[in-house]
């Protein structure tokens, strides 16, 4: 059985979409089922995705608008550009899983709408999620419910913004204080 059928069979109706692109398998599950889905993937005897490689946060602001302006030619291997046409969620959290026994990888994607920026923390399943989740909170402002210590990680505590959001300018914001000091 292919990996794709195994994953769909394991997750059942929790799967929102499943796709393969350049050999990487990505499955999208709904946000309120994430803990349950990851638990199942971790313990399923035929899959055993028992290692969490990383957690990635993504801000999709503007991605959809760009797509609508210049629709791409329908290349066959294109990953249905996270369902083309439909409005993309503002944020996404992607879990990079790995099975140590079969050396297969899987990405689990969760859509996070802007008005409900809270995801269940997976630190209970893998302690490895601790800093990655703190970093996503720091960089995107997505909160993780049940995280033992949700503080900023890379930026300092007094910092107000979330710099990896697409509406945060590259040159920074509110830097006048520092510039005035240099004068």
């Amino acid at each position: 059985m292919s990996q794709q059928t195994l994953v769909s069979a394991c997750l059942g109706d929790m799967v929102v979409s499943i796709s393969e692109f350049v050999g990487d398998l990505t499955v999208e599950v709904s946000k309120n089922k994430i803990i349950h889905a990851l638990e199942k993937l971790k313990s399923d005897p035929s899959l055993q995705f028992d290692f969490l490689s990383d957690v990635v946060g993504i801000d999709n602001l503007g991605l959809h608008a760009k797509k609508a302006k210049a629709p791409k030619k329908d290349e066959p291997q294109q990953e249905a550009a996270p369902d083309a046409g439909a409005t993309l969620p503002r944020f996404e959290v992607v879990y990079l899983l790995l099975s140590l026994s079969s050396n297969k990888r899987l990405r689990v994607r969760v859509a996070v709408p802007e008005d409900d920026c809270v995801v269940e923390s997976v630190t209970g399943l893998w302690r490895a999620a601790n800093w990655p989740e703190r970093e996503i909170y720091d960089m995107f402002g997505i909160r993780f419910k049940g995280h033992p210590d949700l503080r900023r990680l890379l930026m300092w505590d007094e910092f107000k913004d979330h710099p990896l959001r697409k509406d945060y300018p590259l040159e920074g914001k509110n830097e006048e204080r520092i510039l005035n000091y240099l004068d």
Partner: protein, 385 residues
């Protein structure tokens, strides 16, 4: 004690304020024993550590944000600044992720040169680690033996493209330049040098009573905990888990080489040191085999695949990881079909290792904490990005 209580204001920590019988101390971010810009806030009972909370971000330069604003080729020099002890591995890891996204087949000759250079970088990285670990534990001599050999490796890098540390090695799709013609004589001399230096280091350290007392059983970690915390690379192998991406998910041409994966037993500082020493010898083996294959290639074999002038990968997500000297170094790229990545996430190997630092040093002495930190090879450049 909860972590958030530990990160109170700096003034309180430095004014000799004590919490019950414990004393809170601040180490770093600017301290000779804290490599780079690492900071640990530790609660101590006498000389033992009750709990330690690593603070990172002092070298955060927004590399991922930069990546979203540079095009695919322009980002290669930025990857040099991740793990600056082995920049070539970062370059190749990033290039391979973009190549996977675009479906580019890199010519074999270029792959062989990449492997030779990556393994040289691995040796250089491990030499720095063992040398610095010695310095931190008061053994100064091996540092000189090892650093001389590292300089010799950097001579080869410099002679290849003019840079010692920030190599900006290769391009997306292959390489620009071939190995220089007298690589063979240089490599033979260098190989003997590395083996001699490692022998000397081995004689000075491995059976040295002071060394074993300071390293055996210090900051030991169990394989179960290590996997739970997301360890990869030498720190995981020291715990006894045989996992190496070069063997388990062979990328490039690694499946063709004959080499061993050294594995430790106890996951302590001594095992992490031994793993590095043994891996250097395995890297020498790989370079020898790769160079033999390289010599059999025709002189005019292509070095770079056919790559469009502007690199515009198709829209979609990709993740590709290689075995860097510290462990799994991966790049996650979301492309929107334009010439810049829409989102670029780096998975630095020492990030996952360092987040378990507090747990690893619990109950150890302050001086052993420094030994533990050196043995993990935490590089602030890739930790903070």
């Amino acid at each position: 004690m909860h972590n958030s209580e530990l990160s109170e204001s700096f003034d309180e920590m430095t004014s000799g304020h004590s919490t019950g019988d414990y004393v809170k101390i601040n180490i770093g971010p600017s301290h000779p024993a804290m490599h780079g810009t690492l900071r640990v806030v530790a609660l101590t009972d006498g000389e033992s550590i009750v709990s330690a909370d690593p603070e990172i971000g002092y070298l955060h330069r927004g590399v991922e944000k930069l990546g979203e604003n540079l095009n695919y080729t322009q980002f290669i020099p930025v990857t040099d600044r991740l793990n600056y002890c082995s920049a070539i591995c970062n370059n190749v890891s990033y290039e391979m992720a973009v190549e996977k996204l675009m479906g580019i087949e890199v010519p074999e000759k270029a792959q062989l040169v990449r492997i030779i250079m990556m393994e040289l970088a691995r040796i250089a990285d491990h030499e720095v680690l063992v040398g610095i670990l010695g310095v931190d534990l008061g053994a100064f001599t091996p540092f000189f033996y090892l650093i001389i050999q590292r300089e010799e490796i950097y001579e080869i890098f410099e002679w290849y493209n003019g840079a010692r540390l920030t190599n900006t090695f290769g391009r997306i799709g292959g390489l620009v330049a071939d190995l220089p013609s007298d690589f063979e004589t240089r490599w033979q001399k260098l190989r003997d040098g590395i083996r001699n230096a490692n022998d000397e280091t081995d004689k000075l350290l491995t059976h040295n009573r002071i060394w074993t007392d300071r390293t055996i059983g210090v900051a030991a970690f169990s394989p179960k905990d290590a996997l739970d915390w997301g360890f990869t690379g030498p720190c995981l192998r020291a715990c006894g888990v045989k996992r190496d991406l070069r063997k388990d998910e062979p990328y490039s041409l690694y499946s063709r080489f004959d080499f061993d994966v050294p594995v430790g037993k106890h996951g302590d500082v001594f095992d992490r040191y031994m793993i590095r020493m043994e891996e250097m010898e395995e890297s020498i083996k790989i370079i020898d085999q790769a160079f033999k294959m390289y010599k059999e290639m025709p002189a005019d074999a292509p070095l770079i695949a056919k790559v469009p002038k502007t690199i515009k990968p198709p829209a979609g997500d990709v993740y590709h990881a290689i075995e860097a000297p510290n462990g799994e170094l991966g790049f996650f790229i979301r492309s929107d079909g334009s010439d810049k990545p829409y989102r670029l996430k780096i998975r630095p190997p020492c990030y996952m290792v360092y987040q378990a630092f507090g747990e690893m040093v619990k109950g150890e002495m302050i001086a052993d904490m420094i030994a533990c930190l050196s043995s993990l090879n935490v590089i602030a450049g890739e930790l903070d990005r």
